[in-house]
Amino acid sequence: MENTLLGGGGGGGGISGGMSIVSREENNMAMSSDESSSYPDESELELGLGLSLGGGAKSKSKPTATAGPWGQYARILTAKDFLSVVSTKESSSSSSSSSSVTKANNNPSCGVKRTAEPSSPPGRSGASQVVGWPPIRTYRIQSLVNHAKSPMTEEITSAVDKWLLKASLFVKVNMDGIPIGRKVDLNAHSCYETLSQTLDNMFKLSVAVGARRSNAEEQVVMTRPSRLLNGSSEFMLTYEDKEGDWMLVGDVPWEMFLSSVKRLRIMRTAEANGLAPRSHERNRRQSIAPV
């Protein structure tokens, strides 16, 4: 099970309510730039994933509680989400729960009916916003924003954003000295700087766990731009590419990086000296063992 959590509750939690637990953690870590500040608490999340659920007693339509996970994960609403969380908790590793899903899909009151509430905050627009649904080409969806009459513009933009939620590109991030790794959505970034800032925050590099710094240094670090990329910090950001080589982050254009990165590692600078620096020595297999 890959979901490793920083400070999260108990090891093998599996998926059970995993989505909600992790999302709370990630909320605290301020990963995604457009996250809603009013994310729902766990119980709302479990029940209200948009469509009314099968499973009897526990099911309540609470279409408002949908923003949280999507803000983090670009999570696509799936048939599994229609289940009551009771079933996912019991069989945390269940992969085919077709019988439960049958219940959900046969629920005749399935469906999203809502009245327009122009004053509702964007994060809780109420409609169960599913990625890529209804099935209209992106170009047409985006042209709706341009057509929107002014009081509606913000709502439409928010709805289009949800429709467009770019499928995420999550990669693992490990930091030397920290046993539990994290994950970061590279598609939520458009350049190395913001990625680096996010990682700074995620691993609290300014108050680094395991780092040995004076208080004065900590303060300085917090106000400066990320040092992961410029080699001046105790740590350096590296990545493993498609071919299994470990490279320094920042050498290649961002798009190229996205298409070849497999995972990230925040490496102690001392160890990173073995890496190929600004020249691309792809033949040399790095001697640094991956975490």
């Binding site: 899903v101 999203v112 080409r137």
Partner: protein, 590 residues
């Protein structure tokens, strides 16, 4: 088939080098065969022809000039280059269709560059390139523009990865360009300067479509271009072109067959209005009209004179009311194809039913897909009304929020010739709103009645029964789209076992699992592709499929937060090129 030919076919297919094969060419010399085959244009016919015997295979490959590749990964550039020596026109399609709805991550692939490199080597006289759902960079466009001296036609639909800079290269270097058709692509628009890159000698354009680009272009450059290109028959401009500018263009090009207007809202003087009206009435050959952004009843009347000859009216970007549509269609009795927004409501569709008896295709798009406004849209009543008046209807794409089984049954009784039936009830899992039952009987009626059905998209609350019907009755079905539907594996199994002509199956958010996936093991090689996302398929089943069927590529993408065992997005397609070598890290090739 000539019995003599059959005999020699048998012997020549057994031993290509035996004297018998010369016997067959004595009967039917290569030159004659090639002459005959060069008249064949349909790629399906050509595929059949190539299977007859070795001689025919060779004659066919030498005479094929148009290449159609429905899935760019089903074959490799090398294989194509070896088989076909004389290609002038290429159509390539890349990503799975659900990439149009953002279900396929960026950087997935379908990059055209390696194809272009091969084309430059083997087909230096390439004239046409038509791409759909492919990725191409500005560098690729520049390479294309400079590698093929005779290049004539470029059509890009739903592609991504390039910008208007790439278009600059095309306009600058392709001296014989006859067609530039840019539609609905995800590109970076850095300005309209590309249009000014056409040389002042360029007069060969026949097709120019830049309707979906947003930036302003130089009107002066456009006007001069239109004036020079006397053979221009298709012109679709973007929103930046105003009404009075449109009038000036029309005056230069009254021969147009297809016109896409720019913005249709502007304060015009009476004189300008009159001039515009006159310009339209002088377009005697107009068959297709589109664009019409922001059109209102104020300016629509200028079109009336041109409507008489129209066969295709695309109003899908005009938020027209029912009365506005009514007047337009009243002037357009020859319409075969009509695309509208659901702002016209049922009432507007009623007028379509009464004014357009020749209608064959109707598409109704939602103006408010996210239900943010109190907006009525269309219901089953509108669809019914059209089916009453337009008995030749055979293609429909209909977005609505409510539907009944009874209405659909009546609709297909009125119009039994449907070949394409795409009904999208926008709320997932929505039942018949009158009876609260699943919509199974609706689609049952469709497949039972419409025996020529080739393409079907289902929606609403559906159980396995829908798919039992499809498997039992839809014997000509080639494409099926499923979302939020079905109850168990059985549904998908029925379809896989029952539809002999199925080529493309795309499924999202439905409870089909491993048993369903594996029941199609022998079927997938007869299909172009299968897409399953957010279903109940696991990695182990995908691995099994991949192991058993080496000529299938089984690709999996996983969602964040999901179990390692879940195969969240599965894409299976047949290929003679083996697993692809350009897969990004998030695509697992099994």
């Amino acid at each position: 088939m000539d019995p003599k030919l059959k005999k020699t076919k048998d012997s020549s297919s057994n031993s290509a080098n035996s004297p018998d094969s010369t016997h067959s060419s004595f009967l039917f010399p290569d030159e004659v065969l090639e002459r005959v085959l060069s008249l064949l244009h349909s790629h399906k016919d050509r595929s059949s022809v190539s299977l007859v015997c070795k001689d025919w295979y060779n004659a066919e490959r030498w005479t094929r000039t148009k290449l159609f590749i429905g899935n760019c990964y089903s074959v490799s550039p090398e294989i194509v280059a070896r088989r076909f020596p004389r290609i002038k026109s290429v159509t390539l399609k890349g990503k799975p269709r659900f990439s149009d709805f953002n279900l396929v991550p960026q950087y997935w692939g379908a990059d055209v560059h390696s194809w272009l490199v091969m084309f430059a080597k083997v087909y230096p006289f390439l004239e046409e390139l038509r791409l759909k759902r492919m990725t191409l960079s500005d560098e690729s466009l520049k390479f294309l523009a400079t590698s093929f001296p005779g290049f004539k036609a470029l059509s890009l639909l739903s592609c991504d990865g390039f910008s208007t800079d790439g278009l600059k290269a095309i306009a600058t270097h392709c001296k014989n360009l006859t067609e530039l058709d840019i539609q609905e692509n995800g590109i970076d628009d850095f300005g309209g300067g590309w249009l000014s890159c056409f040389s002042e000698n360029c007069s060969s354009l026949e097709v120019l479509n830049f309707a979906s680009l947003s930036s302003d272009v130089s009107f002066d450059a456009l006007e001069k271009l239109v004036r020079r290109c006397k053979s221009l028959r298709i012109l679709k401009v973007n929103k930046s072109i105003s009404l009075d500018q449109l009038q000036q263009l029309l005056v230069q090009a009254p021969q147009l067959i297809e016109l896409g207007t720019g913005s249709f809202q502007q304060e015009l003087t009476p004189r300008q209005y009159e001039d515009l009206e006159t310009a339209f009435s002088n377009c005697k050959n107009l068959q297709t009209l589109s664009g019409l952004w922001e059109a209102t009843s104020l300016h629509l009347p200028v079109l009336y004179a041109a409507c008489a000859s129209l066969t295709f009216l695309n109003l899908s970007y005009a938020t027209l009311r029912s009365d506005e549509l009514a007047k337009l269609v009243a002037h357009s009795p020859n319409l075969r194809r009509l695309w509208v927004l659901d702002t016209v409501e049922d009432k507007g569709l009623e007028t379509v039913g009464s004014s357009c008896p020749l209608l064959e295709e109707l598409r109704v798009y939602p103006a408010d897909p996210f239900e943010l406004d109190l907006h009525h849209g269309v219901t089953e009543a509108g669809f019914l009304a059209v089916s009453h008046g337009c008995r030749k209807l055979h293609y429909v794409l209909y977005f609505c929020r409510q539907m009944t089984n009874a209405a659909v049954a009546t609709i297909v009784q009125n119009c039994p010739d449907f070949t394409h039936f795409r009904l999208c009830i926008m709320n997932p899992g929505e039942p018949d709103y009158l009876t609260n039952e699943p919509m199974d009987e609706a689609f049952g009626a469709v497949v039972k009645t419409c025996t020529n059905l080739q393409r079907l998209a289902v929606s609403g609350l559906l159980t396995d029964l829908t798919f039992e019907y499809i498997g039992r009755y839809a014997k000509n079905l080639e494409t099926l789209s499923v979302a939020f539907a079905g109850s168990s594996d059985r549904g998908m199994q029925c379809v896989l076992q029952g539809c002999p002509k199925l080529r493309k199956l795309e499924i999202r958010d439905s409870p089909f699992g491993n048993a369903a996936l594996l029941s199609g093991v022998e079927k997938y090689e007869t299909m172009r592709s299968l897409w399953m996302s957010a279903c109940n398929v696991t990695m182990s089943a995908c691995r099994l499929l991949a192991k058993d069927m080496p000529r299938l590529n089984v690709e999996v993408m996983r969602d964040e937060g999901s179990d390692d065992r879940q195969a969240d997005k599965v894409y299976v397609y047949r290929s003679v090129a083996g697993p692809r070598r350009d897969a990004p890290p998030f695509v697992l090739t099994l």
